[in-house]
Symmetry: C2
Subunit: 717 residues, 2 copies
């Protein structure tokens, strides 16, 4: 599945700094003079709406989207704050997105009596529509270029003064733009600072569930079919935006194409790709390919085997391990796809050629050479440091998330409590960044959430991860000696988890509020463990930040500037979880020498079904089979350039109508982090006809069909 969440986390973990990218591209109109010798890749790009290459689309597909078309599709697009995309599909605030984007809402609305995840949900009237707790929709109302304002505010400044002025200017622009609680404004940094744009959104905070099918059809095929094609998934759902307790009234929404996608159709996707790293240097890509991705894959694969078998301990263990197992399996496939892309010789050679071209262009001019010339070698030096310190850093600190060596909720609480006690007394800007004032609310929300957790799983995870830590750093590493002393990973984990009181919110709150004194006095074994290793862990982090992260940021920033000087906005910026438009066509590809057809049919789901998980169709499908038009198109692929975060994006034809709904990418598209290969990268979508046919024939959701297809319904179809 293409939700931004999990895969994004994996990606973020791999690459700490966000920069932008460019590739073989047309000559920039700017002062840069890097002559384009290679054509732009067909259909590549996640373009901002204010810089869409409409002329290119016309050249290839004979259709040039005009400003009205672009405004209409933009205003019909929506973002789900949790990490997905969506679109308005009726004047009455109806919103189309993926089932996996509303899965947590469906779960929250469920009870022991009504398991809507398993049974599906349908509101037959508006009164039956149920508020999704904590769901927010954003509609992009306008884009304003504020590059000049930012430049004015930061002109001549450097270092800390520069960052402070930059942050101040951004906050000021955002505040003066956001006039009320129904407006959200963000200054978006594009091209690593080449451009600053002010994005103004209309906010919808009352969002209600309208329809969600059973998980067994939404995620039909489970992990074996995840990121694969042919597919037969009804990964679709409807919610509705409300304002003042009534369905929101919208001037712009996408009309439904009853015919939907056909092979060869021009297709647009309008959505919010989460993050790409297409600008990484060769030195960084080599480390990804040779070191980081393989190591992570091996770690996750072993964890996957452990969790799969852990589920056999009993039904409760199965239930508690399922969520993590899904995450691990999804990540393993995603990272495997990323590695596959990097070991493709032609793809990697194209990245090398791009870098050599840019470096040659930099070297041509003495000023450019003096400014940027050394950045690549310094980046390569940072990567050598990364190789040397990677194990320590990832196993002990873990980047953006829990360290590879200390998995489980209990340890996470303990480290947070130990560190918060030390950090909170400091000035906000002197703290470890995750403890500054802006981030404390998130930390407190996690600490004091009553979410259930599972000591038996926690102990298994901590045992596993401590064992892997010892293996990675070696038994002789001083950190390992201090950590384990004369005990085994099993013993350390067992004592720390079984003896800990951190399972209760009260205990955590007492330690948090008690601060350094309470932490120092605690004899909770998990606190003792976190306390004992914290000085060593901080030293490892500091070393990493000085030797790896800092040099990566500085030199990555320089390379990004050189690129923007060369290419300007003739290329698209890296993804930033903001609205982008991509174009392409409904088209299969060749896999292992065989052609993969671009469109599947409803009937294929029945052929594929075995009755056993994950190929068991829900009873509603089996019951309706005789009445269904089995030749109805079900899922399809297109050449649109998407990544995680695009889940829920509408696929739109030249008339601005919905012809499908993005829910996944194929296996090769997982290389989309690094670049786009038009030969094999494919977006995977639910066909618009499949949604209508299932609503009508399986789910009996006639009012929903009427809302989507008002004219046709009047025709009596």
């Amino acid at each position: 599945m293409e939700a931004a969440g999990d895969v994004e986390n994996e990606r973020k973990r791999s690459m700490p700094n966000s920069k932008h990218r460019l590739r073989k591209a047309a000559l920039a109109g700017a002062a840069g003079v890097l002559v384009a010798s290679a054509p732009a890749f067909a259909d590549e790009g996640m373009w901002t709406y204010d810089n869409f290459p409409a002329a290119k689309v016309k050249e290839k597909y004979g259709f040039e989207p005009g400003q009205d078309w672009l405004d209409h599709v933009r205003l019909s697009s929506a973002r789900l704050a949790g990490g997905c995309s969506a679109s308005f599909v009726s004047a009455n605030g109806l919103v189309l997105t993926n089932h996996h984007c509303v899965h947590s809402c469906v779960q929250q609305l469920s009870s022991a009596k009504h398991d809507y995840v398993q049974q599906g949900f349908l509101a037959r009237t508006k009164a039956e529509e149920r508020v999704c707790p904590a769901m927010e929709l954003n509609q992009l109302v306008s884009i304003t270029d504020v590059t000049a304002e930012i430049a004015d505010a930061t002109n001549g400044l450097e270092g800390k003064a520069y960052s402070e002025a930059l942050n101040g200017a951004m906050s000021g622009l955002e505040k003066s733009c956001a006039s009320g609680s129904d407006v959200r404004c963000d200054v978006v940094t594009l091209y690593s600072g080449g451009r600053y744009h002010l994005y103004k959104y209309r906010r919808f905070q009352d969002v209600r569930l309208v329809w969600a099918p059973e998980l067994s059809t939404a995620f039909f095929g489970g992990d074996p079919d995840n990121f694969m094609f042919p597919r037969f998934n009804l990964d679709a759902a409807f919610v509705r935006a409300y304002e003042n307790g009534k369905p929101a009234q919208l001037d712009h929404f996408l009309r439904w194409s009853e015919e939907g996608a056909k092979a060869g159709d021009l297709s647009f996707t309008s959505g919010h790709p989460g993050r790409t790293d297409r600008q990484l240097t060769i030195a960084e890509l080599e480390v990804q390919r040779d070191v980081l991705l393989p190591r992570r894959l091996i770690y996750l694969s072993e964890l996957r085997g452990m969790l799969t078998e852990f589920r056999n301990r009993g039904p409760e263990q199965k239930r508690t391990a399922n969520g993590l197992l899904f995450y691990v399996e999804n990540s393993t496939k995603a990272l495997g796809g990323m590695r596959n892309a990097l070991v493709e010789k032609d793809f990697f050679a194209s990245k090398v050629a791009d870098e050599q071209k840019l470096r040659a262009w930099v070297a041509e001019d003495p000023t450019r050479a003096a400014t940027y010339g050394a950045a690549w070698d310094r980046m390569a030096g940072a990567q050598r440091e990364f190789r040397a310190s990677m194990n320590e850093y990832y196993f002990v600190e873990g980047g953006n998330r829990s360290p590879w060596g200390f998995q489980g909720d209990f340890f996470g609480f303990a480290r947070t409590l130990v560190r918060a006690a030390e950090e909170k007394p400091k000035a906000s800007n002197k703290r470890l960044r995750e403890y500054n004032d802006a981030n404390l609310p998130a930390i407190e929300a996690r600490l004091f959430s009553g979410a259930p957790f599972y000591p038996e799983l926690d102990e298994a995870l901590l045992t596993f991860s401590l064992t892997k830590l010892r293996e990675a750093l070696g038994t002789d590493h001083p950190f390992v000696k201090n950590l384990l002393g004369k005990e085994s990973p099993e013993t350390v984990a067992r004592k720390a988890v079984r003896g800990s009181k951190l399972g209760t919110v009260g205990a955590r709150r007492a330690l948090y509020e008690g601060g350094a004194k309470a932490i120092a006095a605690s004899n909770d074994p998990m606190i003792v463990l976190a306390r004992r290793i914290d000085a060593d862990a901080r030293a490892i982090r500091t070393r990493y930040e000085e030797k790896v992260d800092g040099p990566q940021r500085v030199n990555g920033g320089l390379i990004a500037k050189a690129k923007f000087e060369a290419y300007g906005t003739s290329v698209y910026p890296d993804a930033t979880f903001t609205l982008r438009l991509s174009y392409g066509a409904v088209e299969g590809w060749e896999q292992d020498g065989k052609a993969v057809a671009p469109i599947t049919e409803l009937g294929g789901a029945f052929e594929r079904a075995t009755g056993e998980d994950p190929y068991a169709l829900p009873p509603s499908w089996l019951k309706a089979k005789g009445k269904l038009a089995l030749a109805t198109p079900m899922n399809f692929v297109s050449t649109n350039d998407i990544v995680g975060g695009n889940s829920g994006s509408p696929v739109v034809n030249r008339n601005g109508e919905v012809i499908g709904l993005i829910f996944d990418g194929n296996l090769p598209s997982l290389g989309g982090d690094y670049g786009f290969d038009p030969a094999v990268n494919r977006a995977v979508a639910v066909h618009s006809q499949a949604i209508i046919e299932s609503l009508r024939t399986i789910y009996g959701a006639s009012s929903l069909v009427d809302e989507l297809l008002p004219v046709n319904t009047a025709n009596g179809r």
Copy 2:
């Protein structure tokens, strides 16, 4: 551990064809004229005794082993037929080898009452020495060059006539050489046929266990320390060769160096490296690095996680899964080390340079170009085919061992029975090669062995491997559809294992003897499963042999011939599990920027011990601690070039004395399959002093010490 068995199997699986290698090397004396522009790597090489570069050793180390020295060390060396090396260390047939080389003997001699694996074994008198079932020792008596005889016999022949003449000539030479049951003769193919040598061995078939310490000291540190250094392992054992019921009397044996290895010492290892693939082309190495090794590592890692957690089902499950888990962990480390070697840019670049040099030399001469020039591109073509068919082949057929998609003993029996029924009626040379007359006895031995096996583990393994097969080939693959039908991997495995009668020797014998008719009539669900997929599996195998294996053999053979034409015997041949001598020095290395000292001390074992597995020393050690000389050298590393099969090799100084005992290599040495990096590849040995000190102070084995150190003991130590 460096036993040839497991790791060799992994290596064999990866590379079906055996060829030879060369590298930057001195100019051959032969007609070949490839000028050496680069120096030979220091200390590299597993040299045959009749072509040892004594002058090179003198140049570097100031000592030139003469013919007497070489003859003495060769005649003091021994091979354990099961896949290890050894040496004679007294005139009365005493033999030194590794504990892990006699582990299965120790286990076979154990009973419920006496677990010698856990408690160790010591024969205080010769009468207490116990016969090791099925252990055989070989001593290399002579080497005769029979290249001319083979050439005469095969002159002018091609294709099948050539193979038949070659096999006939080899058998003839072996038969006329082997005069009795105490002699064994093998024609050894060196340099992929550049040389044929007749190796004559004296056989010792009565071998008795003298001393083996507890597994917990022999394999101290378990998997975490496996392939690592510093180490503290007493991986040593003594057996004794008997003739006519009496200890064998030997003219040649290695005297014991009481002082043993010191840092900087010149060191020789005399042993039987099992197999290397240092001649692989770049196209083959790329596939290893990018595709095969990563995929296998991911598979084994997931299996490792599954087995680790499977052990938690209960004590019996732990016992039954331990052996496989050891194999999986050992393989994972070994294959990881091989991958690490290949992603080292400098190492890989040296392989590329070697190939380019040879190709340039071939291209220089029209005759050579016509003969060999196309081989590399054809090999690259075979590798493209390999990438396309690898998953099918390994998951369904599996090369030399059980297929990745069908793990477990039950399926192995079923496939063997199904295929034997079809193959046996054919002429021997028309059968699948593992069913020809020469191989049938091994197949029957396996089928009719009463070795225990474990249905619960078998079912878990089959479930796991069928799930991986579906994942690798995809749910839509015709093979998968035929295999699973409408069932899940769990269901197929459960039905096939639980319903099968193949657990009894009687059932297997009846099916084997009943032939095709019995197989066709069987409704044993495991037989039904193996039968159902057999036609598809055979088709996959045929395709692989035609597209990949055949072209690899042909073009690999051509490239090997070109190399021999260029370099002759100025380089060493790839390992062939025959006796080789390597030279080097006792020397640490630099790891992650830190110097690793070359020698550890006995006391380090106590510091490292935690009392918890795998760092629990046996009671005998804890009891003796106060009396032990803790500064006694324990383990050490040297630059000798070794691989699996060298386990048990003596480390010998310039006086021909035992200064240590090879038992492992360090992590970088696992790249030894592909080449030798003198900067980091290290052999790991038990120090001769550690063996004496532990025999004397821990094990009270004074008569053994007297036999090893007769003079010194007379001196009162």
